[in-house]
Subunit: 450 residues, 2 copies
Amino acid sequence: MYIEQLKNKLGSEKVSLEEKDLKQHSHDESPHEAIDPDVVCFPENRQDIKTILEIARTYKVPVTPYGIGSGLEGAAIPVHHGISINFNKMNQIIDFSPEDMTVTVQPGITRVQLNQFLKEYGLMFPIDPNIDASIGGMVATNASGTTGLRYGAMKDQILDLEIVLSDGTVIHTGTKAKKSSSGYLFTNLFVGSEGTLGIFTEITMKLYGIPEETVMARCTLDTLEVCAKASQIISLKGIPILRLELMDKESIVEMNRQNDYHFPEKHSLFLEFAGTKNAIIHDVELVKKLLHELGCEDWVVSRDPSEQQEIWRARKELSLAFVQEEGMDEVGADVCVPISRLPELLTYARQLIQETGLRGGVWGHVGDGNFHTLVLFDTRIKGEKELAESTNEALAKRAIEVGGTCTGEHGVGLGKIKYQEIEHGPAVRIMKGIKQLLDPTGILNPGKIF
Amino acid sequence: MYIEQLKNKLGSEKVSLEEKDLKQHSHDESPHEAIDPDVVCFPENRQDIKTILEIARTYKVPVTPYGIGSGLEGAAIPVHHGISINFNKMNQIIDFSPEDMTVTVQPGITRVQLNQFLKEYGLMFPIDPNIDASIGGMVATNASGTTGLRYGAMKDQILDLEIVLSDGTVIHTGTKAKKSSSGYLFTNLFVGSEGTLGIFTEITMKLYGIPEETVMARCTLDTLEVCAKASQIISLKGIPILRLELMDKESIVEMNRQNDYHFPEKHSLFLEFAGTKNAIIHDVELVKKLLHELGCEDWVVSRDPSEQQEIWRARKELSLAFVQEEGMDEVGADVCVPISRLPELLTYARQLIQETGLRGGVWGHVGDGNFHTLVLFDTRIKGEKELAESTNEALAKRAIEVGGTCTGEHGVGLGKIKYQEIEHGPAVRIMKGIKQLLDPTGILNPGKIF
C-alpha cells in the first residue's frame, strides 16, 4: 500500500523493489546481520524527501538513509525493514563560494567527487575516512580518519545543515557565517546522529587551501608504548603534521603477506607532512630528531608522489588484507582515549588479541588517540566470532574507564549500543528525550544508537 | 521562605542579601535595564549547585548564573528576580594534563587566572574576548574575540561539560578524548545556552602551546571595502594570522582624542602574527606585500613587547573611549557575515551611523567576518537611544539576509531575542522544545534567548 503511494507520488522510476537493490541496501561493511529493506527510494531533491517522510509518517514505516554503504557499525542496515533512502541522485553542488571557502552540497556527493570539483580552485575538503564515502554519510557518523589530527572531525567542518524533520518541517541549523552565538548551537546534535533525528538535504561546509607540498615518512619503533610516546611528543611540540598512523608488527606482516610489499616487519609509524616547502623541511627534520631520540629505525622519507601513493595504498588496503581468505571475517574496535593513556591502551589491545590466539592487528590515527583493532575469525568454527568480539568489548570498556570513548569515528549504529549507558550515564536519558522530541513516531532509523 | 532554606542548607556565609551584592548582580556591561536579584548565592562546589537548584525547583524561583558581569546582551540580568549565582568561589583547576594538553576547571576561574597557571608549562588557553571574563561565562555565550580567526570560538575548545540539570541530575556531555562519535554530540547545545539549559560545574577544554614569537603590525587603507578585501585575501592565502582587527577612521579619531595616542586618522588594520620565528618573518613579508598591492599606507611593524602592549591597550580601550563623557551611553551591534559579504556590510554599517547624525565607530574581528558598531547617544535627549538602536536593527536584519547572524559572539541575552525567529525560522520551535525538555519548570534563566 505505502509502496504504491511512493510510486504515485515520487514517480515509479525513483522506487525500486528489485532484488539487487534490496540486497545492496541490506548491509554495510560491518559484520552485522544483513536485513533487506522493503523498498529502496532514489530521491532527487528536498521535495522527494518530504514526500517519502510524509508517506512514512502516514503508514508508520521506518526510513533508513544509505550513503554508499561503507559504514562499519551497521547504521545503514534497515533492521526494521521499511524504506531505504539512497542518495545517489542527490549529489549536486548547490552553492560554492571560493571567497568564503565554503561549499553547500547535497548529501549524496562523495568526498572524491567533491575534491575533483574543488581542485582547480586550489581548494579541498580534507576529511578522509579512508574510503570514498558520501558526505551525507560522513556527517551522519561524524567521520574523521587519517587527517583528523590536523583538521578534526566532520563536526568541526559544518556551518549549516538543511534538514527535513520527521514531521516534514525543513530547518537550517546554522548560517554561512564563520561563527555565531545565536539561538542554541545545535548543528552538532545532528552530526553523528545517523539519520535518527532528521534527513539532511543540504550540507554547508568549510573548505581549505591545498597545501603546497606533501612529504611522507615511515619508521619503525621497538614497542607500542614508544609509538604512543612518539605521538604524544609530536603533539606536544605542536608540529602541524597531517597524518600520523600506527601499524603494529602483526598488521605489517599481514600487509606484506597479502600484497607484495616489503615493509620492515616491526611496529611502524607512517607520517605525512603537508604545508609550505620551507615549513615541511623544518618539520620533517624536527620529527626525525625526536623519533631518533626514541630509538626509531628504518627512517625513510618519500618526496615522490607515486612512491607516496604506494605507502598509502598499503595503509588503505590494510583491513582488506586481513580478510582475503575464504570463510574468514573480522571484528574491529574504534576506541579513542586521552593521548596520555594511549601507551597502556595500545599494549592492552595487543595483549587482548594475543590471549584469544586469533590473528589480528592494532593500528590507527594515534595522533589524536583514536585506534582500531581488527581480529580475524573463522566463520566455520563455532565460538570464534564471540571470542573475537570479546576483545572489542574489553577494549571499549577500558577506553571508557580511562576517560575515552567506545567509538572515535565509526559511530554507534548497532555495535556500540551496549556501551551507551556505560559511557554517557544519565545523559542517555536526555539524548532519548531529544530523539523523542524530534521523531515522536519513531520512523527515523529505528533501532540505532539506543 | 526559600531564602531561609538557602541559608540553612548552604550556610549563611554563602547567601547574601546585601545591597551592594544585589546591585552588582543586577546588570552587566550592556545598556539593558538593571534588575536586582532577590538573593545572591556563592556556591563552592557541585553539591551547592544541586542544593540551590533543589530549592529553586521546590519554590519555583528563577536561577540566573553570573560570571564577572562583562556580558554585552544582558544574559546575566535576573529579569524575573530570584537567585543570582556567583561563581567566584568556584574557580579551581580540577584536573590538568600537560601530556593531553587539556584542563578541567570550575566555571568561575577567569581566563587570565587560568593562563597565569598554564604559563610555566608553556601552554595557554587562547580565546580572548577582550576582557578577563570567567570561563563559565565564556562557555555560556560561546565567546570568541580577537583570536577567533585562528582558534575559533569557545564551542571549538570544549571536550566535556559537567552540568547540573534543572532536575538535579549531573551529566557529562563528552569525554577527555580528542574526538568521539558516541551518542548524540550535544556539548555544543550547552555552549552558548546562557544558563538556560543547565548549570556548568566543570569544563574540560583543549590547550595550546604558547607561540615562540609574536609580531604586530598596523596599517591604514583608503576605504572599508578595501579593508574587507584585505581580510578576504589573507584568509584565502591561508596565512595563519593570529589577530586581524579593523578600526574605522571614526574609531581611531575617538581613540586618539580620549587617550594620548597618535595613530594616523584613517581606516586601520591592526594585525598580530604568532608562531615560530621563521614562519613569522615569512608571513609578515607576505602580508605586507598583499596589503601594499591594495594601497596600504603607514605600515608599521612592532617586535617590541611593550610597544605591542600599547597598541592592544588602545584596541581594548576602544569601547570605553567612546563613553567617557557624562550622560552618554552606547549601543553596539555584533553581526557576523560570510567574508564575501563583508565589504558591502561594513559600508552599510558606516552609512547607517552617518544617517543618524550620531557619533559612532565600526570595528571588529574582520578576519572571520565578525564586526561591531558602537553608536553613542545622549541619555538626556529623548529619542536618541531609539535612534541609535535603529542602526543595530537594520544591520542585524541585513546580516541575516546575506546569510549571516545577528550575533557573532555576544550571545542572544535580551537584546537579540527579537531576531531569533528571523534568523532561525522553524528551528526556533525545536530549540524551544529542547528548553522545555531540559527545564520543564522554567527556572533556568527565564526570559533569555526566546
